[in-house]
Structure formats: C-alpha cells, structure tokens
Symmetry: D4
Subunit: 149 residues, 8 copies
C-alpha cells in the first residue's frame, strides 16, 4: 500500500519540507499547490494577459491554480491541511471542505489557539496534529504499523 | 422550478433575514446552520454529557452541528456563503469547499477588503455579491427571469 | 410516471411554446433557460455591477445563467436541444454534452442541413426530431404508450 | 504529478502539434480524436458496412468515434477545447459540456470574435487562452510552478 | 416507506396486472415498459419517419422506448424481471443487468426450467419467485412486515 | 428541513418506540427493519418456499429483508444504530458500515461496557448516545436549534 | 491511449481467440469470463462444498463467477458482447445491461437473425458488428485511426 | 487481470498468512489493517498525545486506523472478512457493510456456529468460506479458471 498525500495550506514556513524529508523511505507521493506566493498570485495575468481590475487579476490566477489544486486533491488518499499563525487562510479551509466532501482522509495541522475556530474543520478530520513530525508518524504508522519510540 | 438555498457563514448580522424577507413570493426554501452561537457551541455537551477537555467539548458540538449542516448542503441547489468582517470564519470557507466539491452553485457574499483572501473561494463560485439584496436579485432572476429596475 | 423536461437551445422562435402547448394534459414539468436575450446577456452586470471589459460583462452573466441552467438539466429526465437556423449556438451543444455526461435522455431537434454537423451530438441522443410536434408525440408515447393517428 | 490532457476541437490547423511540441519535457500524456477528417467521417461504414442513408452513414461513424472520445475525456485531467475560425464545431462545444459535467478542468482556446458566442462555455472553464503557447505555459506552470519570462 | 417498483420483461401474459391488483392498498407505485407489442416495435418510425432498413426501423423504436425504460428503472427501488416461456427475452436480461449495476433490489420471476440459464441473473437478485402472488407477498412483507397465512 | 431517520439494530427493547414518541411534533420520518424476530427469520421460506438446509433458509430471509433495509438506509439522512446488551448484533454493525460508506450521518446508541469494542464504529459516527432520549434531543436540536432544559 | 476490453458472451466458438490474435500489436488488455463450461458451472460447489439442491449448486457457482465478471467489466473501457446461435444467453444480455448502466462503450457481435430480438441491447451500444474481424478493426481504428484496406 | 484483496477481521490467528502464502504465484496484492493489537489500540495517543478519558483514547486511535482501513477497502476488488471464535468483532461487520455499500466483492470466512448471526452479512457476499484454503481456491479460480483437485 502506498499513499498519495496532498499538502494544503500555509506557505510561509517549511512544514512541507519537514514532512517530505521525514517521510523518506515511505511509499508516499506528495503533491501540493504552487508555494511561490508571487507566481501563485500572478500566474493568470502573466500567462493569459493583464487585467486592469484587481478582482479579475486575482480571479484568473485562482482559476489557473485550481487546475493543480483539484487534480492534487482528487488524486489524494490523505489531505493534510496546515493552518499557520497569520492571514485569513480561507483557501486552506476551502480545501479541507472540498477534500471532506470527496471522502478523503483529512489530517489537520494546527496550533492550540486555533482549536475553537477550527472545530468544524476538525470534526471532518481523522487526525488533528500539532507538528509536522506527528504527521510523519501518522503516515509511517498507516503504512507500516510502526509507532515512534 | 423551485430552489433550495443554504445560507452559510457569518451569524452576527441579519443578512439571512434580509435575504429571506426579500425573497418572499419566490419558490425558495431556505436552510442554514443553527445561528444561536451559544447553543451551537454547547449542543454536544448539553445533550451528550460534559467534557473536561475543551477540545472534545468543541468536537462533540461540531459533530452534532454537522448533522444539520451536511443535510442542508446536500439538499441545496444554491449555497450562499457570507464572509463577515470579523473572526476566522473557517467554517464558512469549509462549507464553500464542501459545496463546491458536490457541484452546488456557489454564491459568495463578501466585502472588497476580503477580495484577495477569497480569490480561491470565488474561483469556485458562480457569483460574488456585495449585498444581501444582490443575492435576492440573483434568486429572482434565476427563478423568473426578472431583473431589477 | 411523470417527466421533467428541459428545453435547451434556440430562443428566437416559439418552439418551446409549441411543445408546452402540445403537451398539455401530460404529466410533464418543463424548464429551460431565460429566453429574454437582453436579460440573459446583461443579468450579471445589472445585478452585480458594471464591467468595463466586455469579456467579464459576458462572463458574469453567463455564470449567473448557469445557476438556472445546471439546476434545470440536473433535475431533468429528458433534455431537448433545439438547433435553429442561425448563430453559433455553442451553448446548445454544450448543454447537450453536459446532459449526455449526466446520463440524461437526449432528444435533438434539428434541420436536415445540420445533420452532418450534428452527428456527434446525435450519436449521444435517443431521438432526432424535425418538428416540435414530434417531440410532443415522443413525450406522449413515453408517458402513455399512445401513438399519433 | 503528471497530467492527462485531451485536445478537443478544430482539426484543420496544427495547434495540437504546437502544444505537444511545446510541452516536451513535461509529464503530460496527450490524447485526442482521430483528426483525419475522411477517416473520421467514414469509419463506421468502412468497418461495419455501407448505409444508403447519409444520416445513418454519419451516425455509425460518430458512434465508433465516441468510443475513443469518451475514453479520452474520461481519463483526462484537463480538456483543452479549440474553436477555430470556420464551421459549426458543435462537437467541440459538446465535448466541452461533456467534460464540464464530469468535473474536468477545462481550458478553452478561442479567438476574440467568438468571445460572446462562447460565454457559456467559458463560464465552465478554468482558463480562456488565445494561443497554443499559452496552453503550454499553463501546463508548465501547473506542473512545475514555472512562469514564462 | 413507499416503494417504486418497475415491472420488466414478458408482455404476453397478465402477470403485471396480477401484481398490481394484488398490491392494492400497499404504498407502491408501479411503472413498466409500453406493453403494446406493435406500438413498442413501431413507435420510432411512426413518430420520427419511416426507415427502409429494418435494422434502423427497430433501432429508432428501441431508442424511444429507452427514454421510458431508463426513467422507470432509475426511479425504482425494486425491479421485478419476469422471464416467460417463449422468445429470447434479451431485453429482460438487459434490464436486470442494468438495474443490478445501479444497485436496485432485483426480484426475478421465473419458471424452474430456466433456473440454470438464469443463474447469473439470479446471483444478482435478492429474491427468485415463481408466481406473481409471491412478488406481492414480498412487497407486502417489505412494506408492512406481514407474512401470508 | 425534515429528516429521514433509519433506526437500526437491537429489536428486544422499546428504544424505537421511545425515540418515535419523543420526536412527536418534529418533522421526522422514521423507518427501520421488520422487528418481529420470527417473521424476520422466516420471511424467505414462508413466501418463497421451504429449504431443507438451514443456511439457505436464513439466506432467503436475509435477502428479502435486505430489500427493506437497503431502501431504508438509502433514503435516510440519519442512521441511528443501537447496540443492545446481548447477541452478536453483526447486522447492526454491518448497517453502520453500510451507512457510513454512503455518507449518512451516523448516531450510535451504546452502553459504556461496549465502548472499546465499538471504537471503530464510533469513529465513523457524528454522535455516540447513551439513551433514546439523547437521540431525540439531537433530532430536536438539529431540526429546531432547541436544546433541552 | 490503451484500452481494456472485456469479452462477454458465447463460449462455444473461438471468437475471443480471433479478436485477441487480430489485435496483436495494439495496446489492448483483454479480460473475460472463465470459458471452461464445466468449471464455470461447478466452481462454487467444488471449492465451497456440495449442495443437494441444484438451484443452490448453480447459485454458488454464479456468485463466485461474479467476482471475476464484475471486476472485468468494472475495469473495462469497452465491453464486447457476443450472442451466438444457440442457448438463452441471458448472462450475455445481463452483462450488456450491466455495462451500459456503468457507461461502458458497448460493442455487440450478433447475427442478422437476432437483430430484432437484440434491438434494445443494440440501442445501448456504440457499434453492432457481424464478425470478430470487425471488432478488431474497430479497436485498431479507435487506438490508431487506421482503417482497413 | 490482477486483484487487490483486503483482509479484514480477526487478528488472533494466522489466517492472513495462510491466504497470502497459499496465493503465492497469483497476481494478487493483499492489504489489511494493522494487526498488532497494542499498536492498533494506542496509535492515536502515542502519536498525537495522551487522553485522560478512555473513550477519546480509543477514538483517536480508531480514527488514525481508519486512514489505513478506508484506503485499503476503497482500493480493493475483493474484501475478505474473517469472523473468529471470540470477541464482538463489530469492526469486522462494519468493514463488511462498508465494503458492500461500495460494491466490493465480499467473501466471508466464518464457522458454522455463526451462520445464523451472520445471515445479513452473508446476504451481501458472493462467497461464504469455512477455511483460508477455500479463499485461496476462490482467488486462484477467479484469476486463472483453475479448480482444485
């Protein structure tokens, strides 16, 4: 058994790298969004032409990014959604809802101060983790039955 | 043709009432979450027994609320998601993602200062409105073909 | 047994009225797009605000119309698509493809000069009719077993 | 992440070749219809026997072609639909509708003079491109995050 | 709880009438194909125009009949398929397979001499009955819990 | 909003009656299996003929009962599964799994001594209740927002 | 593009071998039922124990065979169903209906004397062929665009 | 044709090993739950932090195990569920129901004393076996057509 894991959410820390590195040797394929903030914001207009209205500027980019996001989530067995300390992060919560409706196994990576605000998201998840290392331990256990320690 | 419309999101203003009142005379059935904040937070422990840990207190409530939320969204033709001025509102974005994955017609009700943060959500929507009145006008047009003015 | 029938396509002649009138007395519920050309083109900007760019003007309207179109097709048992003599009518062919993928029973109403151009569309249909009266006869036969004459 | 891309629509210019060539080095598998116009028209009768009636001649061919088309679209992550300058091209719009109903990521390749006629098709798409090169740039960005320039 | 029951198969005896009469007073809605053999064979050409080739004559009729058949089976909770003593009855077996793939509850009504030939069909069924009366008893038990005698 | 609620599991106490009575006045439609143990065991052979082998005796009955069970669960919004004090009750756990895979909202009604044995079942549920009264309170809250006390 | 092709139906002639041999060099994977008549009839009792009642003898075998049949059809892109000259062949028609409901591309291989009896089956098919060679030509054309001659 | 087989249920004897060993040389991929009882019970708290309440201790573990279980069943063609001599084994019956609702081919491995209690589970299965060797023989027959002896 191998797992496809989509890593959604916060893009300002190296949590993805920690998980990918920690999972080395496991039969896991990772996917995720484009994490270059500038490219992600501007991909629509850079490729398809400038927009004078910021709303459509954003819209064109978000739709192009959706090609990648939807493919990644559709192919995933497990969707890990990380909520960081800053920003609205509505795209992360959107991905969580999208994945839940598709019946994906959800793992949420969050800090204690967000527990109350994330209770509806957590209610659809199979695990709520505090650290990337815990996510790795979940993946290892799911694939091999091995527990840490 | 009639429409089932689920009204998701912000619970601190009367936007739901404005839409429901404005839509009087149209063949629309509205549903939505329990909007009594206290009841929504405590329903789990009030019915099923207290929890010493706040996380499970919240979890039990969120799961009971999910019975209503999932039924409402599953039966809806149109899901309107309102993002207010305050709070994280991750449950609203979660509902939007959930509805999008089920192929529901999404209408997002948002303020201009949130446009950039909501671009991924809007990319899955069929309309982005600024006021409850606009939502009513959409419903009226969809059902009757009549435009305002 | 009753039937929900969606009438898609050409909006410049009275074919919908002919079918609806001919089917009086049968247990059929008809739906269809907004057929007021001006309203259909401008609904997006009239309700949600003007756009300086014609592309987004059209886009906003097409998305609002999609709320009605998708609901109508999703609820339909039979989708009748009429190709008229003029215009590109790509929305009609789009609706036919959309309905086919959902497994709806397709009836195409077309003129002989379009037979070759519509062969892929017809290949997904259960009937190709030349006149609205034939569509009525199909509906009557399907519901009651009665044939004309 | 790799992508299956179905190239639907116009068969009289070399836009497919441009995209396939431009995408060399990317993890993309391309499929599409049989683009030999004569073979596509006559495949049914050539294999399964002549028809005296042109309608059934076309019908037999269109159904054989549907074996390929449906397989290609069903397996695709992205469906690119190109509308050329001539002909009715209802099969292209049909494919777009079919792909949209299956939840595929749609990219439409069109000229400005068709913008109004294609507004319903574009409303279901994640990108509207003017050139094959833009389609390649989208695929490259989706797969690698790299933008042109 | 009410049941939609589709009565498929043999059209030369009054087994449908026996079941419908026997089920009077139960909350059952019955549907079925057009059972007028001549109308069923000729509906296509009578409505949509004559065909010189018998194969297409039959084809047009079978496709029109499919509008009714597919609707009836799609809406059914229970599909009863009766195999009579004569004819090939491939349409009956086709309906059984179609219903099985949709997860409908299948009841097969057959004579002992067909048991071996119907073993694959029976393997997908929840009941194999010998008489219309048994089918009525099944429906009564399923709806009310009452057994005969 | 109304709810269809399927009451699965233990048939030796009056928990169904307690819930149905407690829910009077709420917009709930209840369904459930045939709870007459003897009828449930013997329905197959009573209607369709005796079997000399006890295994097929049971099998015929279980398949007839499945017509009712599958319809009830398929139509349900909420499936309540009660585990009693005695017997294997594998049919109850089977129903829970069946309902979970269909995405139904599961409520499990169980005693503390079964908590460990039911942990996998509970992990798929939105509520674990100890008393029929709690189930009624959940239904009332979900439908009306009213909490007890 | 490769194709999975399931070869259903008649087991007394070498039509499967003709197709498989003819398709050598094409990217096709063939599956089909167990074609050893005796093994197919007796597999249930041989493995799982004798039955005194012929009906259950047949039933056990048919269910074991269904494991293979359902897997084969579920994985297939194209289902070819061959109706031979003899026997009831209800399993062939059942497979055709099953495949049709799953949206598989159906090809029927039949003799002219069966055309009328197979009209409902043919109405769900994309091709009606007379010879195994024609089936091979269809597969070659679908995969490569090459026509015979 | 290859098969993915999920081995669910009893974890105290070596039935899985017997099946896997017996199936050597066949094109079968086996998956199953973590069968280390202690790890399975404690995985949640070991990875994600201790719980003072035994219910949540169990709950966290059961949800982590569900990541593996759901993936295994979702990917399976055949789900074998073994009921042993002891314990409640509700998770086994839950898996059987879950697999049945997804349309998987079910094989139940059970002892005669459980036949009556398992009749509803067996009614959803394609085979009821008494020994691991019989399961191997089924797999061999399904894949190769070869019968024992």
């Amino acid at each position: 058994m191998g797992l496809n894991v989509y890593l959604s959410g916060e893009i300002h820390t190296d949590w993805r790298e920690q998980i990918i590195e920690g999972a080395q040797g496991l039969d896991v394929t990772f996917t995720g969004p484009v994490t270059d903030h500038g490219a992600s914001d501007d991909c629509g207009v850079t490729i398809l032409g400038a927009e004078s209205d910021k709303y459509w500027h954003d819209h064109k980019g978000a739709m192009v990014n959706a090609i990648r996001t939807r493919k990644g989530i559709a192919d995933a067995d497990v969707v890990v959604v990380r909520f960081g300390e800053k920003y609205k992060q509505w795209n992360a919560a959107f991905d969580a809802g999208y994945a839940a409706a598709l019946g994906k196994s959800l793992v949420i990576l969050q800090q204690p101060e967000h527990d109350h605000a994330l209770k509806e998201v957590d209610a659809a998840a199979l695990a709520m983790a505090r650290t990337p290392e815990q996510v790795v331990q979940i993946l290892r256990y799911v694939l091999t039955g091995a527990l840490p320690g």
